[in-house]
């Protein structure tokens, strides 16, 4: 072998190698980033521009007046974002964005009382369409619609689902089952009405490995999140103030009308699938449903 390595590369070689590397870098998809920025601005997470002439000239909306509390809240955001990353508040297919909470010493997190712009549930019941669950499917053939094993709750006190829906194409489709309110699982305030029934519980199943950012959550002030083992798997319990959920479409794009307010959520990962139960009034109720899923 006549190869004699040298320690030097010419500038031209080095520049060519860097350009080649730049063209070979993995893309950095970040669906929902722009929407998350908008939500935070509209929530008033920023101090007002000190000289907002440019924004005003472009017709951009004014932000809230400077308030010291908001600066402190923003500092908390940065702090908690780090903590959340360290604790791994996220599951395959579910990214949880921490916006505005402050830590408490128990290891869970809770938002501060400062809550200038927490979206409130609309007085009009959300429609089925607004839930953005996809197309109705027969539960018996749902596995064919999503191309993975369908697991649904089997709990007498919950009863059968009012409807089962699939959104997206296999293998990335999301399956949702909605359940009507009953004494064991009462509906929250202003519940969606489907087939004449108030919806109390939504159970979702989706492949997390296919698209880790399939769903994103934005935690509002007043919302708590804590780690929770579910059926032996890593998970989270998110409770408290209504919080926003950003749904992303199959291509990973967040739609403007895809934000809605949701109640308590238990989410966990089981193999390639991520499950979430939405709407349980407390953790015990959510765990009863989770333990019946098979």
């Amino acid at each position: 072998m006549t190869d004699r390595p040298t320690t030097t590369m010419s500038d031209a070689d080095l520049e060519a190698a860097l350009l080649d590397l730049g063209s070979a870098l993995a893309p950095l998809p970040s669906p929902g980033l722009a929407l998350a920025v908008r939500v935070r601005i509209e929530r008033g997470d920023v101090a007002a521009p000190d000289r907002p002439t440019w924004a005003e000239r472009l017709g951009l909306p004014a932000v809230r007046p400077f308030r010291r509390g908001l600066v402190l809240a923003l500092a908390a955001v940065l702090l908690i974002a780090g903590i959340a990353a360290a604790l791994g508040f996220g599951l395959p297919g579910l990214r949880i964005l921490i916006v505005g909470p402050s830590p408490n010493p128990t290891g869970s997190m809770v938002g501060p009382s400062l809550s200038p712009a927490v979206p409130q549930p609309s007085p009009t019941p959300p429609s089925l369409e607004s839930l953005d669950l996809g197309e109705p499917v027969d539960p018996l053939v749902a596995a064919g619609a999503v191309a993975y094993e369908v697991k649904l709750p089997n709990l007498a006190e919950l009863g059968p689902p009012v409807g089962v829906y699939a959104r997206g194409d296999p293998p990335n489709a999301r399956l949702s089952a909605i359940y009507g309110a009953n004494p064991a699982f009462p509906a929250g305030s202003n519940p969606p009405i489907v087939s004449g029934q108030a919806v109390s519980i939504i159970v979702m199943e989706f492949p997390g490995s296919a698209d880790r950012d399939y769903l994103k959550k934005i935690l509002q002030p007043g919302t708590t999140i804590r780690g929770q083992t579910v059926n032996g798997h890593e998970g989270f319990w998110i409770a408290g103030e209504p919080h926003q959920l950003i749904y992303l479409d199959h291509d990973g794009r967040a739609a403007d009308d895809a934000i809605r307010i949701v109640g308590n959520v238990l989410a966990w990962n089981d193999g390639d699938l991520t499950f979430r139960i939405e709407g349980a009034r407390d953790l015990a109720a959510a765990l009863r449903i989770a333990q019946s899923i098979r």
Binding site: M1, T2, D3, R4, P5, T6, T7, T8, M9, S10, D11, D13, L14, E15, A17, L18, L19, D20, L21, G22, A24, L25, A26, P27, L28, S30, L33, A34, L35, A36, V37, R38, R40, I41, E42, D45, V46, A47, A48, P49, D50, R51, P52, T53, W54, A55, R57, L58, G59, L60, P61, V63, L74, V77, L78, A81, G82, A85, G90, L97
Partner: protein
């Protein structure tokens, strides 16, 4: 919201910039999100005749640096190579693809050993294709300083590569070429 469109337009470059500074993609995304929120509040200080991209990249880089410092002196960077995807008749042979990947990986490793400042100047030029004026604005230095910074960063990268690197073998004109 017009600002959301601005975010969409520049988020790829912003994420790339954050990944040049930070070691984790999730950290990079959080840094970019915070940077865009802060930039909105600072729009009054932005000169409307100036290009937006280098201005936001400067904010992103600062945000990423702050995160990196608060998280400790972590090494590495969040950039990853894309999967090899032969897509046409000119697709390289499997052997050539392996060698190319090895060289690119070696170059990424060498970049990881550089300072944030060196990585940024190289990243702006070769990954984001910024011109000299944009680089000056993004780096916050006079335009005349950009060339010398770039030259020094290339020199330090060359030192990082070392004689055993697959890149150095390529440069020698050996049989790998």
């Amino acid at each position: 919201m017009a600002y959301e469109d601005l975010v969409r337009r520049h988020q790829d470059a912003a994420l790339r910039t954050a990944c040049i500074v930070l070691a984790g993609e999730a950290d990079a995304e959080d840094a970019v999100q915070d940077a865009f929120v802060k930039a909105y509040a600072a729009l009054g200080r932005f000169r409307s005749e100036a290009p937006f991209r280098p201005w936001i990249l400067r904010i992103v880089a600062n945000e990423a640096r702050n995160r990196r410092r608060s998280a400790g002196r972590r090494v590495g960077l969040a950039l990853r190579l894309a999967e090899d995807r032969p897509s046409d008749d000119a697709a390289p042979s499997p052997e050539a693809a392996v060698l190319a990947r090895e060289r690119r990986g070696a170059l990424l490793g060498a970049l990881s050993g550089l300072s944030e400042d060196d990585r940024l100047v190289l990243g702006y030029r070769y990954f984001l294709d910024l011109g000299e004026a944009e680089m000056a604005e993004a780096l916050g230095v006079p335009r005349g300083t950009v060339k010398s910074r770039l030259s020094r960063a290339l020199g330090r990268l060359r030192t990082q590569i070392g004689p055993e690197s697959p890149l150095a073998r390529v440069a020698s004109g050996g049989p790998d070429r």
